[in-house]
Each structure stands twice: as C-alpha cells, then as structure tokens.
C-alpha cells in the first residue's frame, strides 16, 4: 500500500494509472463498437442485445449485476484517468514558465500534441452521449433499453447529433492513435522489438474504431437503418 502511494506521488506512477485506466476504457470502446454494429441485425436483434447486457451472468450473479460492476469500474476509471491527467497537465505546464520565441517539432504528431484536448472533448462527449441515448434527452417517445433500436434511429435522425457524434469518435480515434501505443510505453511493456507492433495496433485501433462507430449514425441518416 505504501508502495502504491509512493508510486502515485511520482509522475511515472500517475502515468501508470492513466495507462491502466486507459486500457480499461480501450477495452470498453471495442466492446461498445461491436455492440453498436448489431444495429444491422435489425430492431429485434439490437434490442435483444440491450436486454442481454442486463441479464448476462444471471443467475450466477444478480440480474444487472455484471452491468453495474462494469459501470462502476468504468466510472472509477474515468475519474482516475481525468484526475491523473489534470495533475500531470498542471506539472507539465509549470515546468516551462517562459517559452521559446521559436519552436519547431520533428517527432510530434497532431494526435500526440492534442492528446489532452482530445481527452477533454471525449469527456464532454460522454456527458452529452449519456444524456442523449441513455437518459433520452431530446428523443421523443424514449423507451429506455426496451426500445434501444428506436432510440438510436430517433436520436440520429437529427443531423446535428450525427455531426457531434462523428466529430467525437474522430477525437477518440486520434486519442487512441497516440494513447494505445503510449499505454505500453508507459507500463514499460515496450522495447525496440515491440515498438512497431504497438504503433501498428494503435493505428489500426484508431482507424477501425472511428470507422466502426461512425457507421451507425451514417447508416441512420442515410436511411439504411430506419
């Protein structure tokens, strides 16, 4: 316990917390995307999947037991990820009180330099996204998980929601393009032999998750899913 606390006091410890909580988030978005794509099975298939998420594990665990376990883990991860990010950002910003007149970069990418802003965008999106599709803000005849399919169709019939959604998953793709590789680097699971592998995984993850998530609102607005 002392070791965990003294570890967290270091910048590397805070980064390790970001990496582990980021990994949990990464796993979640992959499952979330796979779930979303069930929209193409039609209303019955999609709503059945929404129902499955509530009953999975039953009767071994109480109904919704696994769902709530996952929700608590995810909420804790988001909180820890954000708190560590704020603490690290404050340290980083304090480390150079006077900047350069001229700065050029050789290695930095748009994704790596905007990581924290992309993170902020994703955080704001999560709040909006929960209000929109979990609590039904702005969706007429919102029926909770019973009508998950109909909620999605109604939610994305408004082009503004589609634009916000695609911009947000774009930010997610960029975040993962740098973040997934960083995760392994930060946890010390990277070396000269694995570097290409993790870079590749990060690139593929960023692109596939962006495409996978964008497919659903595009399918709704173009009338493929209705």
């Amino acid at each position: 316990m002392t070791a965990a606390l003294t570890l967290y006091r270091t910048t590397i410890g805070k980064k390790a917390v970001m990496a582990i909580t980021g990994f949990i988030g990464y796993g979640f978005v992959i499952l979330h995307m796979i779930g979303n794509l069930k929209i193409f099975e039609g209303a019955e298939g999609f709503n059945e999947y929404a129902h499955f998420l509530r009953t999975v594990g039953y009767p071994l665990v109480p109904e919704r037991g696994l769902l709530w376990t996952m929700r608590i883990i995810l909420l804790a991860s988001v909180i820890l990820h954000v708190v560590a990010a704020i603490q690290l950002t404050r340290l980083d910003w304090a480390s150079r009180p006077r900047g350069y007149r001229e700065t050029r970069r050789k290695q930095a990418t748009f994704a790596s330099l905007t990581l924290r802003w992309g993170g902020l965008a994703i955080f704001l999106f999560i709040v909006y996204h929960l209000a929109h599709l979990t609590f039904g803000l702005g969706i007429p005849n919102f029926g909770g998980h019973e009508t998950a399919y109909q909620n999605v169709v109604a939610g994305f019939s408004n082009p503004i929601n589609v634009v916000i959604y695609i911009a947000a998953v774009g930010a997610l793709g960029m975040h993962l393009y740098h973040g997934v590789w960083s995760m392994f680097q930060t946890l010390g699971l990277n070396g000269p032999r694995t570097d290409g592998l993790w870079r590749g995984l990060a690139t593929v993850s960023g692109i596939l998750l962006f495409l996978g998530f964008s497919t659903v609102p595009i399918a709704v607005i173009t009338g493929i899913v209705r």
């Binding site: 910048t11 980083d92 150079r96 350069y100 001229e102 050789k106 290695q107 740098h178 946890l187 010390g188």
Partner: protein, 249 residues
C-alpha cells in the same frame, strides 16, 4: 556569408532578458556554430560591449557543455549533432537565426545562453553508488555480459547530459536523461545490487527538480545529439513499477 542573429541576452539570473539583434559578417562555411559566435564576440569586445555568454568545452561533441536552441531546434536540429559540431555550411548568406537558451523551470538562465544544469547532477547524485568488491580484481572474463545488453548499455551511456531532451520536450521533462542513466547501469551486472533503489531515488529527484512528465511525444529522442532511443524511458518505467511491486520506497 553574412547573417542576422536574434540572440537572447540576459545579464544574470535575476534580471529580465531580451532579444538583441547582431550582424555576423564574413562567416566562413567551414566554421562551427560556436566559431561563428566567437567571431561575433570578437567584434563586440572590440566595440567595448559585453560578449555573448555561452557554455562550451571540448568542441568535439562529447562533453555536453554547449547547447542552445537554434531556430526552434535544440542544437540546430541536425541528426546526432551538438551545437559545436553544427557547421555554418548548413546556413546560407542572408539567413536570420534565432538563438535562445534551454527553457525549463529546472534550468534557470544564469547569463545569456548559459543555463544552470545542476538539476542533472543532483539526479545523478540521487542514483548513489554501485557495490564493488574490494581486494584483488577478478578476471574480467568471468563476468558475462550478453552482447545485446552491452550494446544497449553503451548506447544509453553515450548520454552527455547536455539537456537537449529537456529543451525539446513540450513538458520540459527530464525522462530521457534519467532513463539513459538508469538503463546504462541497469543493463550491466555491476549495476544489479542497487538497480531498484536507484530507479526509485533518481525518479524522486527528477520530479523534485520540477521537470514535467512524459507524454510520449518523442521530441527528446529526436533532439538528442547521441540519439538515445525512447525505449530507455519504457525501461525506466518498467524498473520503477517493478521496484514498487517489490516494495522499494
């Protein structure tokens, strides 16, 4: 060739600095960047002005003394090159060059282009000692070092402590420097007894000095005149996490 220089001038650590413009005349392309500044300084001395203060020692790229941000790049941005080994042939007649000191809270400017890099010395000090047996030295061949470890340790040990990594990092982080030191001892048998206490102490000291954290951007490694790879940082992270799992405080 003739050049226009915008140089950061600052009288001492307490005073406010500013950029001053100088003309560097009749510069020969074979000169090093520091020799170009020597020419400018000679002229300033003849005019009775204070010469531009910059740190230098070996002038052959191995001591780590020299270092300035040239046109936004530490050491001028040529691969594996220190400021003293940067030659004027990389510039052309009429160029305008901005010269700034390293910028970091942990590296306060002492005068003009000279910064105080004692923070690095304190990180090294925090690393402490390595245990060595007294008595007769054993035959060197009895200590086996795998070839790849010897190579990687040597690559890390090439760090000259110039501070370009800190200067280039958007967070002014000293992770590449600290990681290079941890890697070069941690990979060799002589460094094993204190391996985990060393990483804990050095990281603690690094944080205490007010350097920022690592966001894995990689500017440090790109700016490093010794081309120390980013993989040393992963190794330092791993050693610190293992140390904490072992309960080293």
């Amino acid at each position: 060739m003739n050049l226009t220089l915008h140089v950061w001038r600052q009288k001492n650590a307490q005073s406010e600095g500013r950029f001053v413009t100088y003309q560097a005349k009749n510069i020969i392309p074979d000169m090093s960047f520091l020799e170009m500044l020597d020419v400018v300084n000679q002229e300033l001395i003849l005019k009775g002005e204070e010469p531009i203060a910059f740190e230098h020692d070996c002038r052959e790229g191995i001591c780590g003394s020299c270092g300035m941000v040239i046109n936004g790049y530490p050491h001028g941005g040529h691969r594996g090159t220190t400021t003293c080994q940067l030659h004027m042939r990389h510039f052309k007649d009429g160029d305008v060059i901005t010269i700034e000191p390293w910028r970091a809270r942990a590296f306060p400017v002492l005068k003009d282009l000279i910064v105080d890099r004692s923070a690095f010395d304190r990180i090294i000090q925090a690393g402490g000692f390595i245990s060595a047996n007294t008595g007769v030295a054993q035959d060197a061949n009895t200590v086996l070092v795998p070839k790849q470890n010897a190579e990687a340790a040597m690559d890390a040990a090439a760090c000259i402590g110039c501070g370009a990594c800190v200067a280039a990092c958007p967070n002014a982080s000293a992770m590449l420097f600290t990681a290079a030191k941890i890697t070069h001892l941690g990979l060799l048998p002589q460094g094993q007894p204190e391996r985990y206490t060393r990483v804990v102490r050095m990281v603690e000291q690094m944080d205490r000095e007010g350097f920022g954290g690592c966001t894995n951007i990689g500017e440090c490694s790109a700016a490093c005149p010794k081309e120390i790879p980013l993989s040393v940082i992963a190794r330092m992270n791993r050693d610190l996490l293992v140390a904490k799992l072992k309960g080293v405080n």
